[in-house]
């Protein structure tokens, strides 16, 4: 066939339409891997063959037979393909020839088609059978390989394996099984696994085995005692699995046993040890906590629960001075004495940390808890004889006593431990009741402290600059660097919320160095811009930084990196750092001033009098904001506060040190301070901490009230 025929170049008009109809009729009957156009080309050829043989003078079957075969070859093999073909042919060819010839033609097409279809189906079925044989062959090979593997597993395994019959008699056993139980293969063959168990276990296992056969269990696993041929008991893990036949009915059992006798012996000891403190034989922390959880869960809505945490005072000192045995003896004695005060009915004891014991009381009352605690404290404080000496050890106790409903066991212990810390901090040998307010404040502090390093890395800290003014004329005298923390959950936190935490947790150095770098960078920038008009910038150094060996190296490095000069900065240190342990002027002051920094004593209150500051290389003193706040908020300043501040100011003046004041928030404060002789001030009255671009006009104007 050629495209021209398709275009109507055929000798039969209407042939194209005939082929198109034929294509449309048969296409939906079969899975033909051809497009409509492709099939159309083939069928156009067939149509032409049929037309030709219809119009031939002598009718010849063979072209029509070939067309029938050709349809099958074109994959027109669907159940309705022949039917659709005959319909189209008879409708379209009816007008082309007489009925006899048409019937002959259709018969030949159908004959050729059926003939080819039989071959097609036979061939497909043959191929399918071959494929099944091949798949079975592969599966059987795999089966034989797996049987070999199974046999190896069976004979070589260190696990005892036995195959039984459905009644449970052992039919086949491996060497490991024979050795474990001390029987030969033949001896085992006459027995069931439960014949080899103590009577009580045997009943249980045989019942379970029946359930396995009934289909109530899918497999059986347990830890079991078995008896060897010499009547020696051994502990085993036993697993019984039922192999089912192809109909899903129980066929035979496979039994596997593993000798765990040694493990079992170990486990007994270990499970006691894992839950008990070997020294005092009290519950350890983990078991104690699980008992607390159980106790809390078992209490009614109105019940209360109490937990006391005992800490032995100064045990570490004794441990350091005397031998470990002394410490152990003291701990053991304390535990025994606690046990004597608290019996199992009234409370539960545990050793929750090295020198800490916890006591849980259910259905408690606050007074009842305090009574028990006081009795226990008195007993513990009695002298202990250890290594030929008498030791007296007191204890401090934190007590929590609250409604059981909604109590979290871990919070209970944590709160008691917190209260214990308070008791120790307040002077030891006493008890403290947990107070929720104090606890939550402290807990919030702990959380903040823990978040500090990440916050520093994450750039959550920011600096602002608080103007320092001459109290007399509001002339600009400097800036003070203020650090704040933009906390993602708690919002903006000011230095007083977190600096003490940084100081206590050791994060002060990184935070302080960061603040110093900010200060130096800013000082350099302002000096580049405004030259000598730029007033000094003061930065507070924490005690930890001042005490740090590497302070001068740090300062030099920061100056170097920023390009700022030392005299552009004022370093603020606390009064505590001015003298060393012997009362001599601290070396660090000389170091700082030698480097060229101005040093200011910040945080002055009534309790640190600057009498002794004379002769120290200082630049001034700064009154703490809380000291200034004592002036009060009334119209008339507090006379006693004025006297206290006046005292500090005169002492500073005697030492020839100018006085600054921080926290000057009201005009009245400014007036009072000026009268008392304070020269410089900072605080809301002179302008709040602000960003560099906000304070620049002050530098240009030289006053904290620039016209802008």
């Amino acid at each position: 066939m050629t495209g021209e025929d398709e275009q109507g170049g055929s000798m039969y008009p209407g042939l194209a339409e005939f082929a198109r109809l034929w294509t449309g009729a048969v296409l939906p009957t079969s899975n033909v891997p051809l497009s409509r156009g492709e099939l159309n080309v083939i069928l156009t050829g067939f149509a032409e063959l049929l037309m030709t043989s219809l119009h031939a003078e002598q009718f010849d079957h063979s072209p029509a037979l070939e067309v029938g075969r050709g349809l099958v070859a074109s994959q027109l093999v669907g159940p309705k393909a022949l039917d659709a073909t005959i319909r189209v042919l008879s409708r379209y060819l009816r007008s082309e020839a007489d009925d006899d010839r048409l019937v002959d033609l259709l018969g030949a097409v159908a004959g050729g088609y059926v003939d080819a279809l039989r071959d097609h189906i036979f061939l497909q079925q043959e191929t399918l059978k071959k494929a099944v044989f091949r798949a079975r062959d592969a599966a059987e090979k795999a089966l034989r390989a797996s049987e070999r593997r199974f046999r190896t597993v069976f004979t070589e395994s260190v696990v005892g394996i036995a195959i039984g019959d459905i009644q449970g008699h052992i039919v086949n056993s491996n060497l490991a099984m024979q050795e474990m139980l001390g029987y030969s293969a033949d001896e085992l063959r006459q027995r069931t696994p439960y014949d080899l168990m103590p009577r009580k276990d045997a009943e249980e296992v045989s019942t379970a085995y029946r359930k396995l056969i009934n289909g109530q269990f899918t497999s059986l696993r347990s830890e079991q005692q078995m008896l060897r041929s010499d009547n020696e008991p051994i502990w085993v893990h036993i697993a019984v699995t039922l192999i089912k036949d192809e109909n899903g009915l129980p066929d035979y059992p496979v039994v596997m046993i593993e000798d765990i006798t040694d493990l079992h012996l170990l486990q007994d000891r270990w499970s006691h040890q894992v839950a008990h403190d070997p020294l005092t034989n009290l519950h350890n922390r983990a078991l104690f906590m699980s008992k607390v959880e159980t106790a809390v869960g078992g209490l009614g809505p109105g019940d209360r629960i109490g937990l006391a945490c005992f800490g032995l005072d100064g045990l570490s000192v004794i441990n350091a001075g005397a031998s470990d045995q002394v410490g152990d003896k003291i701990l053991k004695t304390a535990a025994d004495r606690l046990r004597a005060v608290v019996d199992d009915d009234t409370g539960l004891l545990g050793r929750v940390d090295g020198d800490r014991f916890a006591l849980l009381a259910v259905r408690s009352s606050t007074q009842g808890m305090i009574d028990v605690v006081e009795r226990a404290m008195a007993r513990i404080a009695e002298p202990v004889l250890a290594a030929g000496r008498e030791y007296s050890v007191t204890s401090s106790v934190g007590i929590v006593e609250r409604a059981a409903a909604g109590s979290n066991p871990f919070r209970l212990l944590a709160d008691a431990e917190l209260a214990l810390q308070w008791a120790k901090r307040d002077g030891r040998a006493q008890w403290q009741l947990f107070e929720a307010d104090r606890g939550s404040r402290q807990r919030r502090d702990f959380e903040l402290a823990a978040q500090l390093p990440a916050a520093l890395r994450g750039g959550q800290f920011a600096v602002e600059f608080e103007p320092v003014a001459r109290v007399a004329n509001r002339g600009l005298a400097g800036f003070s660097l203020v650090v704040s923390w933009d906390h993602p959950e708690q919002g903006m936190l000011s230095a007083k919320d977190f600096l003490h935490l940084a100081e206590r947790t050791g994060h002060m150095l990184p935070l302080g160095s960061w603040a110093l770098r900010q200060a130096c960078d800013q000082a350099r920038e302002w000096h580049d811009e405004h030259g000598d008009r730029t007033p000094p910038l003061s930065v507070a150094l924490s005690d930890r930084m001042v005490g740090d060996q590497d302070l001068s190296a740090l300062l030099l490095a920061v100056l170097d990196a920023s390009g700022a000069r030392a005299e552009q900065l004022v370093l603020e240190v606390s009064p505590d750092m001015l003298r060393d342990a012997d009362g001599d002027p601290a070396e660090v002051l000389t170091v700082l001033t030698d480097l060229g920094f101005k040093v200011l004593v910040g945080g002055m209150t009534a309790s640190c009098c600057p009498h002794g500051f004379g002769g120290l290389p200082l630049h001034g003193v700064k009154l703490a904001p809380e000291f200034v706040a004592t002036l009060g908020e009334d119209d008339k300043p507090e006379p006693s506060a004025e006297r206290a501040i006046g005292g500090v100011v005169s002492a500073a003046q005697l030492a020839e040190l100018p006085v600054h004041a921080a926290g000057v928030h009201h005009e009245r404060h400014a007036v009072a301070l000026r009268e008392l002789g304070v020269e410089l001030g900072q605080g809301d009255w002179f302008g709040p901490p602000s960003l560099p671009f906000e304070v620049e006009p002050m530098i240009i104007a030289g006053t904290v009230d620039p016209d802008w």
Binding site: S30, N31, P33, R36, G78, A81, A131, A135, A138, A139
Partner: protein
């Protein structure tokens, strides 16, 4: 899949298999009486099933042709079933004799069958593995020998994901395969839906429920989600006859009666 991997898989011809049923619906003779018996039951309640399968097979043919036109010359056909008229390698190798094909099916007879048919064809292999175990397919030595994973691959998962229930995480599986394909690869996918022909498909699902291959129909959105990470080729998600039809008559008046969504996506 609790059969240990060293145990042979049963060659079970006593139960109907999805692959042989599919062949029956296509009018093939690669099936047994047990398959035909279930097939006739299905056809009785879902007479459209012959069209569903035929139109789906035609989509596969057009998709492979399209991919070949885009220059794809390696194919991974997962769930290839029984080889029958218009196999992927026949279509692809007709256009490009060097095209390479890996057929994957989890039915041992279908795989043995493909093996027989591929004898003497160095550029096509069949492996027995399960769509649900991507490592066994992607990491298979024969897959790696046949396909070059540094060049675009045509992944064909035609009429196979509806045998994966939600509990087998079809989206997770699709993501695993996507991750293995290099940029420029294509995914051709078709899937039974109840969005149209709902009643027939529901009856079909009922009958398949206890066969070796239960069926899960999915909505258009669920189907589209399987192309996450691919750019859909025009016309996007359509019913099988609407995807790149070769002539207007092929689409017909009711393409949705094909009951199968089809789409092709390209991994950017």
């Amino acid at each position: 899949m609790d059969r240990p991997d060293w145990a042979p898989k049963d060659v079970d011809i006593e139960k109907a298999s999805a692959a042989r049923l599919y062949d029956f619906f296509l009018g093939g003779s690669y099936n047994f009486e047990v398959d035909r018996e279930l097939g006739r039951k299905v056809a009785a309640v879902a007479p459209g099933v012959f069209d569903f399968t035929r139109l789906n097979r035609a989509f596969l043919r057009r998709a492979v042709r399209y991919l070949t036109e885009q220059g794809v010359d390696q194919f991974l056909d997962i769930g290839s079933g029984i080889p029958t008229a218009g196999n992927v390698h026949e279509i692809a190798q007709k256009a490009n004799p060097d095209a390479r094909i890996v057929y994957v099916d989890n039915e041992p007879v279908a795989v043995a069958h493909s093996d027989l048919l591929l004898e003497g064809n160095p550029n096509a292999v069949a492996i027995e593995a399960d769509l649900r175990d991507p490592d066994s397919i992607l990491g298979n030595d024969r897959t790696r020998q046949m396909l070059d994973f540094s060049r675009p691959i045509g992944l064909l998962t035609v009429a196979v994901y509806h045998f994966i229930p939600e509990s087998d995480d079809p989206l997770g599986l699709a993501a695993r395969y996507r991750a293995a394909l290099p940029s420029g690869s294509y995914l051709a996918l078709s899937h039974v839906t109840m969005d149209a022909m709902g009643e027939q498909i529901r009856q079909l699902i009922d009958l398949y429920r206890n066969s070796q291959n239960p069926v899960t129909a999915r909505t258009r959105d669920q189907f589209a989600a399987m192309f996450d990470g691919f750019e859909l080729v025009e016309p996007g998600v359509v019913f099988t006859p609407e995807w790149h039809p070769e002539s207007p008559e092929d689409v017909g008046e009711h393409p949705e009666e094909s009951a199968v969504y089809a789409a092709v996506g390209r991994k950017p």
